[in-house]
Symmetry: C2
Subunit: 178 residues, 2 copies
């Protein structure tokens, strides 16, 4: 149940409405923990019911601003330090690799070249983000940079791997259908 903790984490920075959270997810967490509008409003209700957040202000158009409570803050810290991150990652990109023997080597190479290109593009996008975010020594900047650095290293690794893999397939004897 990481959605609730993602929301608590954002609310730890200050009060926000469901609409605000939606924007925050889009700009800062979309690559790590995407969330939809319907999820956010439903979960906000549950968080309020369990006392981890509370409504602190109401604005125009029915706007409700929520703030994290002490219990919410405790739950967030507990989740960060005491709950084991989920190691299992599902990757349909990698799943296809397992079955590349069912297509022609040409198609397999094309597939891996596409992955290399996608990784390169992703890397490029992250370098731009890296340039934008501040070089400050405050905690927020440091942790933000650490997260972006993960993405940079991941996309670089994936590009290199895919390019290496294309070479490997070149070693395969030409006619390898089925």
């Amino acid at each position: 149940m990481s959605l609730r903790h993602a929301m608590l984490g954002l609310l730890a920075r200050g009060p926000a409405s469901g609409y605000d959270l939606l924007k925050l997810f889009e700009i800062s967490l979309s690559n790590v923990w995407p969330a939809t509008q319907s999820q956010l409003y439903a979960e906000l209700g549950r968080l309020a019911d369990t006392g981890l957040v509370k409504v602190v202000a109401e604005g125009p158009r029915g706007r409700k601003e929520y703030a994290i409570t002490d219990e919410g803050m405790a739950e967030l810290r507990h989740w960060i330090t005491d709950v084991e991150p989920n190691r299992s990652r599902r990757s349909d990109m990698l799943l296809r690799v397992f079955f590349l023997n069912t297509v022609e080597p040409d198609q397999a190479r094309q597939y891996l070249r596409d992955q290399a290109a996608a990784a390169a593009k992703q890397h490029e996008g992250l370098t731009k983000i890296r340039e934008i975010i501040a070089d400050g020594q405050d905690a927020l900047s440091v942790y933000g940079r650490i997260a972006v650095e993960w993405g940079l290293r991941f996309s670089a690794m994936q590009r290199e791997w895919a390019e290496w893999a294309v070479e490997e397939i070149d070693q395969l004897p030409s006619p390898t259908p089925e």
Copy 2:
């Protein structure tokens, strides 16, 4: 809907029962696309209903052996070559990094050291698998090696990143609570 394609991919190697598939998922796909017993049996029924697989033999204890059909094979190849892999990855490990500013720097460092250790352990496990799988030049060996190589590079990258990140936090001014 990658589960069905994972199952088709395994059945492309030869007929198997639900029970067989469960074992195959456990030994070969657990790190890429885990599946549970209840999922497999339910999906086998749906695959048979849509004609992508069919029962080819019945054995003791109600065992039903399924084989992929021509339509199933076509669907598998279509999925591999024409369907864009899902780029969005959820990572609660990385999500926590975004919120490390809410805990003490000591705890943040500990968290990242734990991630480095977990990655190192994962890398070690994969090197053993790498040693076991054949060095053959046939398609199955080559693609298997490519998939394992991804895991090796990923876990190496993650270990290096986490160790680098610990150093970054050391640059933070000591008292940075809240």
